[in-house]
Symmetry: C2
Subunit: 351 residues, 2 copies
C-alpha cells in the first residue's frame, strides 16, 4: 500500500467521531526529545546531522513501531508531497522547508508521526478526533517509552528533557486542540475569548498552525510553558481553564443565536450549503467560512445530508497541495479555485 493512496482520505483523527467533535475538531500532543551524546542541531555540521538522522532512523526501525510506519527522507520527497504532509499536520513547515538531513516516520493511520531533525533531534506527535488529550497523551507515553529503550534522551534531573528551544525544556510537551467557534464569532465574543486565552499563557493560531491567521472560525489553541509542571497537570489545566469554558461559551452562544436570531442563522447556514453545492470557483478562505456554517448547521440539526466527517475531510482536501495531487497536475490559483469547487460539489452532493 502506497502512502499516496492515503491522500484521498483522512485519518481517524479527522473523522468527527471523538467527544465534543462539534466544537473540538481534534486533539494533538507532541514531545520534543534530543539524543544524549549528539550536539543540538543548531551546533551540528551537515555530516553530524546525517549521522544523527541515520542513527535515529535505525533505532526506530529496530522497534516494533517499524511494522506500522512509513519512513521517509524529507530531501527525497517532491515539493507537492512535502506540502501535502504539512497540510495533513504530519510534518511541520519547518521540516518541509529545511535543509537538514531530516526525515519522518508516520503510522499508516496517520495518528502518530515522528519527525527527525526538525528543531530537535526527535519530535513525537499523536493526534485524535475530538477532545481526547489525556487518551492521546497516554498513547504518546507508550511510544515515548518504546523509543526510550533504544534512544538515550538528553535529560537533566533538574530541568527535565533538554531541548533546542528553552520554551520546550522541561516536559518537552506541547498540547493543542483545533477548535471551531462560529457562534462566539457571530455574537462578537471572540476578542474576549482570545484575550483570556492569552492571559492564561496560551497560544492561539489559525487552522494551519504557526504563523497562520484564524479563518472561518477555526483556531488552534496550545500551551506555551512546559517547565515546572507535570504533563498531566498541563493537560488538566488546559482543559479546565480554557477548553471546557470555551465549549460551554460556544454552546451557550449557539443556543442564544437559535433563540434570538434563528432565521438569520438558518439563512447563513442554508446559503453556505447552496454556495458549496453550486459554486464553480471558490477560494480557500471562502471555503473555510462556508464549511464553518455547514458544521454549525449539522450541530443544530439544520443539515442532514452532510456529515461532520465530510466537512473535516474537506478542510484538508481543499488545500493547495492536496488539490494538485488529486488533480494530478500543477494548477494556477484560478484553476485551484475551479477544481476546489468541483471537489466540494462531489463531496457535498454525494456523501
Amino acid at each position: 500500500m502506497n502512502l499516496s493512496d492515503h491522500y484521498k482520505s483522512v485519518g481517524p483523527w479527522l473523522n468527527g467521531s471523538g467527544p465534543e467533535s462539534d466544537i473540538i475538531v481534534s486533539s494533538r500532543v507532541r514531545l520534543a526529545r534530543n539524543i544524549a551524546g549528539f550536539l543540538f542541531l543548531s551546533s551540528a555540521s551537515q555530516s553530524q546531522k546525517k549521522e544523527i538522522f541515520e542513527y535515529i532512523q535505525n533505532q526506530i526501525q529496530s522497534t516494533k513501531l517499524n511494522d506500522d510506519i512509513w519512513m521517509m527522507n524529507i530531501n527525497e520527497l517532491g515539493e507537492v508531497e512535502k506540502q501535502i504532509l504539512t497540510e495533513r499536520h504530519l510534518i511541520s513547515r519547518q521540516l518541509a522547508d529545511g535543509n537538514n538531513e531530516s526525515g519522518a516516520a508516520i503510522t499508516h493511520d496517520e495518528t502518530l508521526s515522528l519527525m527527525i531533525n526538525e528543531e530537535d533531534h526527535l519530535r513525537i506527535q499523536a493526534m485524535s478526533s475530538g477532545l481526547q488529550l489525556h487518551e492521546t497523551y497516554k498513547k504518546i507515553v507508550e511510544i515515548d517509552n518504546i523509543l526510550e529503550e533504544k534512544l538515550p534522551f538528553s535529560f537533566s534531573p533538574q530541568y527535565g528533557y533538554l531541548t533546542a528551544c528553552p520554551t520546550n525544556v522541561g516536559t518537552g510537551i506541547r498540547v493543542s486542540v483545533m477548535l471551531h467557534l462560529p457562534a462566539l464569532k457571530i455574537s462578537e465574543q471572540m476578542d474576549k475569548v482570545l484575550r483570556s486565552a492569552k492571559d492564561l499563557g496560551l497560544a492561539v493560531r489559525g487552522l494551519y498552525g504557526e504563523g497562520s491567521e484564524p479563518v472561518g472560525d477555526f483556531y488552534q489553541l496550545s500551551n506555551q510553558v512546559t517547565l515546572g509542571k507535570c504533563e498531566n497537570k498541563i493537560i488538566d489545566e488546559l482543559i479546565e481553564l480554557a477548553i471546557n469554558p470555551m465549549i460551554e461559551y460556544e454552546r451557550r452562544a449557539r443556543q442564544k443565536l437559535l433563540e434570538k436570531k434563528s432565521v438569520v442563522l438558518d439563512d447563513k447556514i442554508h446559503r453556505a450549503c447552496g454556495i458549496l453545492s453550486n459554486a464553480r470557483m471558490i477560494s480557500s478562505d471562502e471555503t473555510l467560512y462556508m464549511l464553518s456554517y455547514i458544521r454549525l448547521g449539522i450541530y443544530l440539526g439544520r443539515i442532514q445530508h452532510i456529515s461532520l466527517e465530510t466537512t473535516n475531510k474537506l478542510l484538508l482536501l481543499t488545500q493547495p497541495a492536496h488539490l494538485q495531487f488529486l488533480c494530478q497536475k500543477n494548477l494556477t490559483p484560478n484553476q485551484r479555485d475551479e477544481y476546489r469547487a468541483e471537489l466540494i460539489r462531489e463531496h457535498i452532493n454525494t456523501h
Copy 2:
C-alpha cells in the same frame, strides 16, 4: 371570478413566450387622450373631475369592452390593492397616490388597462410578451377606435391629440420595452449604451418605471417625443435605432463572456441558483440581481429546471404588496425578506 385570484399568477405579457424574450421581457404602448368639452384635470374642480370620471366610465361600459373588464374606482381600493396594481404595471403610481376621482378598467388577461383621470382624462395601455411593439400598437388602435366611437377625443388638426403635458401632445403615444441586459453590464458596456439611448432622446428607467433606479440589469426604455412623427415611425425608429442594436450588443456580449469567461459566468449563474434555492431571507434588490443571472443561465442553457416564465413571475410576486397579499397579512421589512425567500424557494424548487 375575482380580480385577486389573478394576483397569484401573471398575465400573458409576462409569460416569456414572445419574440426575443431572453432580452426583451415585455412591450408596452400607451396612448394619452382627453375628452373634448371637459377641462383638463389641472383646471377641473373635484365635482368636474367626478363628472368626467362617471362620463368616461359609463361610455366604456357601453362598449363591447365591458364584457371583459374589471372596472374599479381607485378611491374604493385598499392601499395594498392599489400597490399591487402598480406593481403589476396596470396603473401608475400617480393614479394610485392621487386624490382625483379616478378609476381603472383592466381586462381579465391584464394585457389592456384604461386609466381614467390620471394625468389625462384617459390613458390606454396595452402590454405584450417579448418584442411585439407593432402588434401591441395594432391592438391599441383597435381599442382606441372602439372608444373613439363613444368618446369625443380632443384633437387639433395642427398638433394632433391634445394632452395635459406638452411632451405627450401629438400622437399621445409612449412606447416602451422592459429590457434585460446582464452581459452588457458584466462587460462594463452599459454606460455607453445608456449614453447612446440618451443621445437618441430616449428615456431609460428602472424596472418599476418613472423614478426607479435600474437594479439587477433590468431597464425600461421609452420614447420621449410624440409630436411631429406618426406612431408607426416612432415605433420603427425605436426598434431600429435602439432596441435591435441593444439586442445585438447584448447577444454579442453574452457570446464573448461564454468564450472568454465561461467559468466565471457559470460560477455566478450557479451561485445565484444556489442562493435562491436556499436563502431564508432575501432583499428585493438581491432577488433582482439573482434572477438576472438565472435568466442569463436559462438563455445559455446552463439552467434547465427553471423557466423564463418563472423568473418573470418572480419579478412581480416578490414585490412588497404582492408578498403581503399572498401572505395575507401586513409584513415588516424583515418579514418580507423571509417570506420572499420562502416564495422563491417554492417556485424555484418545484416549477
